[in-house]
Amino acid sequence: MSIKKDYKFYLVFFAAALVLAAVFSFYASSSPDGLEKVAGDIGFAESAKDHANSDFALADYGVAGIENERFSVGIAGAIGVVATGAAASVLFLALRRKKIE
């Protein structure tokens, strides 16, 4: 397989993730997830404490100050995709076996 074909595949994969996080995330269900629901039903939801970073600019997948919900979650998703990509790339490229020339 050529290097060019590899890059094309990586690019398509990345673009798919970016579109999902930046565009489709707006349509995600806002109902409590499995654990939150169980915690609420059984009654231990109140034992949760506020998150230490709950005032952070990206808390709860929204950008502080952006009123429009679609843009707020979309931009937060895009930032998350880029940040995760950067962190994971540094980690995995550092770990990879060097080719023996």
Partner: protein, 224 residues
Amino acid sequence: MHIPDGFIDLQTSAIFAGAAAVCVGVSLKGARKELDDKSAPLAGLTAVFIFAVQMLNFPVGAGTSGHLLGGALAAVLVGPWAATLALTVVLLMQGFLFADGGLSAIGLNVFNMGVIGVWVGYGVYLIVKRVLPKRKASIALAGAIGGLISVPAAALGFVIQFALGGNATFSLTSVFTAMIGTHIVIGIGEALITGLTISAIMASRSDLVHGWKSNESKLLIKES
């Protein structure tokens, strides 16, 4: 599935943070042996994809949602060691940047989703793959079933942590029944997303998929 601060006491959280750190350390060693020039970028992209799809909560019955955990998916695509690392990166991003999952609970969450989810998903995948014919479609199906089982398994991790150090006292049987019951349903969504994603990648670049390469590696002479 992301545990917030406060559900589990600090002592239990610290024990699981230690256990998670050991597992991540072992995974760093394992991944170093497995990752090469082609699989390393795929591992990074798998983390990115899981972050994105974890944002897409899908409804599961009345007033409840679930989202992909991604452990089985990552293990099939890039192997279990890199999968644990990919999930750990995602959970750290979510905890620190997006206030999703408590900071004191990061070890609990890495242990449930990044270790239990990955290894149960991968183990079930290997068992199912063994009984299926050696075809491309079998990889996706076995991965989907791995995904299905991995979600209630990760939920069981929470039940154990709650039993050891839950800050609230409630009947363990009811926590167990509710957690496992809800997460079996969420597991169906996990299975669908895992199966579809693996199918799509198998259709275009099966040569990059860890679970397929390990079938073929003895037959292929690498060109490059």
